[in-house]
């Protein structure tokens, strides 16, 4: 097999700009060859050693000019982040100094690393699988503690292990099935289709839960979208400002002031939530407003939950009733807010029947705690609060998981109806796609496994 030749890469691993220390990471087969050229170490310790730090100077070999005093930490292949030889140069955090060190490294045989290339190498060298890579990338970009916790949890490898185990289970049956298909006269015990069907059904149920966790994971990592819906001037914008604790939306008494949807993020019970203020629902007065209303509908459609906002200080209008009807049709989490409770209440409460309703006054700030509590309850019921269970998948991984689930559904449906070769095709697809979920080496040569397990000889 042709193994691609690997070069040596270098990049600054700490944030750009002035700081006490900057860390430059070098990884690849020529790491120490390059370091030996530009790093003059003090002390008598042999260089490099596994997990060792060396004090010394970075010196330009062509001019003999000292560039910086540094600490170099060495990691020897395969016991490093990327699995390759790694040197981490701890330099003073001056962009000029760091820039010169990087230039020196490149001049002596390294290449500037692309974004994520260290992690990519770790993946290629089998140091981590795709789920873990995804976790790293999420960890690096995490804005909240929740996201970071999820990413760290994934880094533990629990979801990878789960997918690998499921894949193993299907593969075991597939190998037996393939053995009997490929070597029909080899007295291989033919599989009990119904037994396999029952097991696949079990596996499918586990995958459904996993897929749900992945869905929650993506919901949470993007932020749960909660849309505010109500007639114009029902106080949506005030509510948004109230929830956010600052003025974001323009609040006036003129209906239709918010003509576009506004989006803001907050944390509710440590869960990132995106509050979406909509333009409101009513017959459009002008073209701009019409577009706004179209966006409203889209925002409601995309939302994880919808908060229906009603003005309690006025008698309900046709528009209010229309909104309630629309909400009833939605298959989503819905909370109603009866706003402006600081004013005399004229709305008839019976129209809220069948919905969770929170009384609220933006002016006085009452009811805010209740709306957070209701939302937290919803998260809990949906299992979203349980973010230790969540899985983060990239788009391709999610698509692969989906394909695996479909293939298994077909396999289960076909039991007793289809020929076994179709069963094999579906199971093969499931195994292949699951392999892609965690990017395991997908060696689909079931033939090898057949020869390991069965005495083939006809």
């Amino acid at each position: 097999m042709c193994k691609p030749k690997i070069d040596t890469i270098a990049a600054v691993s700490t944030a750009q700009g002035r700081a006490a220390i900057s860390l430059i990471r070098v990884s690849g087969p020529k790491t120490f060859e390059i370091l030996n050229r530009i790093f003059v170490k003090g002390g008598k310790k042999a260089f490099p050693l596994p997990y060792s730090a060396f004090f010394g100077k970075i010196v330009d070999p062509s001019t003999k000019q000292v560039i910086d005093e540094v600490i170099v930490t060495t990691f020897l292949s395969p016991h490093s982040y990327t699995g390759e030889d790694i040197a981490e140069i701890g330099a003073h955090g001056n962009p000029v100094v760091v820039g010169r060190i990087i230039q020196l490294l490149i001049k002596n045989g390294a290449r500037a690393a692309e974004a994520g290339e260290f992690t990519k190498r770790a993946f290629l060298n089998g140091k981590m699988d795709l789920l873990e890579v995804e976790a790293i990338s999420q960890l690096l970009s995490a804005n909240t503690a929740t996201q970071a916790t999820m990413a760290l949890n994934q880094l533990d490898g629990l979801p990878s292990k789960f997918v690998a185990e499921i894949r193993e289970k299907i593969l075991k049956h597939l190998v037996q099935l393939e053995a009997s298909l490929n070597f029909p006269e080899d007295a291989i015990e033919s599989i009990d289709e119904y037994q396999v069907g029952r097991e696949l059904r079990k596996i499918l149920n586990e995958l459904y839960i996993f897929a749900d966790n992945a869905k929650n994971g993506s919901l949470v990592s993007e932020g749960l979208k909660v849309a505010l819906l109500g007639k114009p001037n029902s106080g949506k914008s005030s509510l948004m400002n109230c929830i956010l604790g600052r003025d974001r939306a323009i609040v006036t008494d003129i209906p239709g002031t918010t003509r576009d949807t506004l989006e803001e993020s907050i944390l509710i019970s440590s869960i990132p939530v995106k509050i979406i203020d909509t333009a409101g629902m009513r017959k459009p007065g002008d073209k701009v407003e019409a577009i706004g209303i179209e966006r409203t509908l889209k925002a409601v459609e995309d939302a994880y939950a919808v908060i229906g906002v009603f003005d309690g200080s006025v008698v309900e209008t046709e528009e209010d009733k229309l909104i309630l009807e629309n909400l009833k049709k939605l298959n989503k989490n819905i909370v109603l807010v009866c706003n402006k409770t600081d004013l005399p209440q004229k709305i008839s409460r019976e129209i809220f029947e069948g919905f969770k309703t929170v009384d609220l006054s933006c002016k006085e700030g009452t009811g805010l705690v209740d709306i957070f509590a209701v939302l937290t309850d919803i998260f809990k019921t949906d299992g979203i609060a349980d973010f230790y269970e969540m899985v983060l998948l990239g788009a391709q991984q999610a698509a692969a998981l989906d394909k695996a689930v479909c293939a298994l559904e077909r396999a289960v449906d076909g039991i007793g109806k289809n020929y076994q070769d179709m069963l094999a095709i579906d199971m093969e697809e499931a195994v292949r796609e699951l392999g892609r979920v965690n990017g395991e080496t997908v060696d689909m040569n079931t033939l090898d496994l057949i020869f390991e397990r069965f005495c083939i000889g006809k």
């Binding site: 691609p4 030749k5 298909l181 029909p184 692969a400 109806k417 005495c455 000889g457």
Partner: protein, 633 residues
Amino acid sequence: MNKHFSVIVVGGGHAGCEAALASARLGADTLLVTLNISTIALMPCNPSIGGPGKGHLVREIGVLGGEMATCIDETCVQMKWLNTSKGPAVRSRRAQADKYLYRQRMIETLFKTPNLVLRQGHVTELIVENGIIKGIKLETGLIFTCEKIIVTSGTYLNAKIILGKSSWSGGPHNQSAATGLSDSLIKNGISIRRLQTATPPRVLDTSVSLDKLRELPGDVDSGGFTWEDRLRRYENQISCFLTFTDERSIEAVKRHLPNSPLVLENITDEGPKHCPSIDRKILKFPQMVTHQIFIEPEGWNSRELYLQGLTTAMPPVAQEDILSSVVGLENAVILRYGYAIEYDALSPGQFRKTMESRIVKGLYTAGQLNGTSGYEEAAAQGLIAGINAVLALKNKAPYWPSRTKSYIGVLVDDLSIWDRPEPYRITPGHAEFRLTLRDDSAERRLIEDGYNIGLVSQSRYEKILAWKNRIENEIIRMSDLSLLPKTENREMMQKLNTGDLKKRVSCVELLQRPGLSYNQLMGLLEENKELSNSDEVYSLETDIKYKGYAERENERIVQTQFLEKIRLPISFFDPKLEILSQETKLVLKSDKYDDLGQAVRKGSVSKTDLALILAVYGQKVQDYSLNGEEDVK
């Protein structure tokens, strides 16, 4: 005698016969040189042709205009369907051959083929000038010059027979080995490795108590491998028989293990994985007591029986002991002892999918020399080598069979990058598009190729095309028909137990329901049946029943074909590809693979680079990001 030929084929086994016939039939003056004219098309091991994967190859050889399919149809003693209960994608025929008639018929065919000259001789040297093949030199000093050479040396190169502790130079059935040619190959830069294979003992028919054993008859209505024989009935057949080893046999093997070449280690370990010797089976699966032994005839009039499953190179006394422990074989008289044979084969990665050498121009290789095992694999390669030698001769584009279109394509594609120690054998497990590559669809997949290559005559082409169109038109017609929920229809449906008919339902959907056949459906519709032959109806029903699967398979086929079409090394290096990593650029420019598909399957192109290449070549990147085996190995 003429001393110059367009094509010279060295070796007269299954690869050599197909190569020589294809070459001569395509109009090239062809010389076939073999060590022994009497043993042309010899089956030195099992007396059978076909089985899952192998049977597919034979069908395809037949469609493309090769000889093996017709020859076995004419000379078999049994024809059998395998895997019929397991589904259309793995269903296959297998024939028991009359080894003697097969040879005789093949030799007659060779003799009566125009443009083909046979010659007995021992080729000891390849004449190569500036990396281009020029001719061959025989042991006698005779020289023949040529444009192209196809070497199909089978298991004869520096062959050594091993039996217990003894070993001597010799080819199959103790014929003389071919010496000298290996050295000549090495001298020209080709590297060689050692492989081994083995065969079981043959016993005298009257010494076996067949009456104690389970009889395995053939199928009268299985039809033959060639399209012309598809409805042929084989009324007269000879049965095979089945017996098993038991504790006593295992004991006997264990007793003699110290004299097994496996233990003595006087033989290379690299042999076919799928037919291990009885000693290897017992070493590898010590807990297993019952191993099957198939007792197979070697011909209508042969007195020898072949003991499939008892392959061994243990010494004669061990073979006698083992046999006498098996029910039915207690008094078996061994006519030929089993033995192992060790031979020279090419090291991996030295030939293209066209079977042409990557090292010496004009040199083609096929069969066991290329590291396969099996008559069918050899014949398929011989056919491809013969075709491509002549196409090259005529300065025409080579025939690259696609792995999405035939098992032959899978075979040559896999084989040209096969780098495993053991010989390659085809099975459905190697074919990822097995629903498309069904046994019954061989003509529909390949008849155009056969005709374009020139090995299928105009009249044969027209006949098969008409048959193909009849099936395909009927499939199209069926797609437009639907059944109305009339009372009598609903009653009939219920009687047939295929569910209710609540609204108008298309025929495609109805045929996809279990239990409903084309004939019944056409009866309900009161429509004329355009198809009446069982093979045609089978193809139609299978196509329709598995439409969804076929469509999904087709999505992947399109991707594979796209990768196959990017031939390596790429002739024009698009400047846009400069962004690729250095390693990938080297792969694309080197002559290591025949196409991008091979490089991707071998993990030589990273995912990122693959996405870039596809973007440059205008294919949607999205479809590919999930495609193929991972680039991590």
